[in-house]
């Protein structure tokens, strides 16, 4: 059943927003791409991203996943460092 806007907002506000869970999901996806193409993500990113070969559905998604993974990791550690600095 389709959620009403009220229900949608309610569901979203109940989320726990775990950075670790997000990192685990993105990491799992990166691992699946790496297995499928037998290529490490960092090598993929250096070789393929920015080249015409990137214009395939998997590679576009892989590149987004890779960038998002690092953004999330960076935010997690900068937050932890901030907390450690305050303590």
């Amino acid at each position: 059943m389709k959620m009403s806007k009220k229900k949608f907002v309610q569901e979203i506000s109940n989320l726990e927003l775990s950075t670790d869970t997000a990192i685990a999901k993105l990491s799992q996806q990166l691992h699946e791409y790496e297995k499928k193409y037998n290529l490490r993500s960092e090598i993929f990113y250096k070789l393929i991203v920015g080249s015409p070969a990137e214009d395939t559905p998997d590679f576009i998604a892989w590149a987004m996943c890779y960038r998002s993974y690092f953004r999330t990791i960076q935010s997690k550690f900068s937050m932890e460092e901030l907390v450690a600095g305050v303590a």
Binding site: M3, I12, L26, R67
Partner: protein, 144 residues
């Protein structure tokens, strides 16, 4: 947390728009409604939304990826990939904004470079970059 509360609101609004679009044009399985909040959760934390949705009894799928950034006080879809797949999970049409094409298959300039669409024959066509237009086209293909 990656995003501040204002940015989170913008992401939630974007996800709500995507949810409305998908559920108004198609009839996704019940699981989609259950799983959608977890897709929003990932987007709120990572700035990356992705959904793989079965949208028709004939076995069509929509695969959506969006990567978000923030300009001034607004949300920008920095990158995207919209895909309509058949029951064998092969692409029928897809759209993205990689800047590797400047002209369409008739050698006309893309109307909204770098946005473009790969049509049913794999040809490059102009595309607005709006998911509303992609969903409309996908809906027409499914109904035809």
């Amino acid at each position: 947390m990656l995003h501040n509360s204002h940015q989170q609101r913008l992401i939630i609004n974007r996800c709500l728009l995507l949810y409305d679009l998908i559920t108004e044009k198609f009839r996704p399985l019940h699981e989609f409604h259950i799983e959608f909040p977890s897709l929003v959760e990932l987007a709120l934390i990572s700035g990356y939304f992705q959904a793989f949705v079965e949208i028709s009894p004939g076995g069509h799928f929509l695969h959506i990826h969006e990567e978000y950034d923030f300009e001034e006080h607004g949300l920008e879809v920095k990158g995207y990939s919209y895909n309509l797949l058949d029951k064998s999970k092969h692409n029928i049409i897809r759209a993205d904004s990689l800047p590797h094409h400047r002209v369409d298959y008739k050698s006309h300039k893309l109307s909204h470079f770098p946005d473009h669409l790969h049509d049913e024959k794999g040809r490059i066509c102009s595309f607005t970059g709006k998911i509303e237009d992609f969903v409309k086209r996908a809906s027409e293909i499914i109904e035809s």
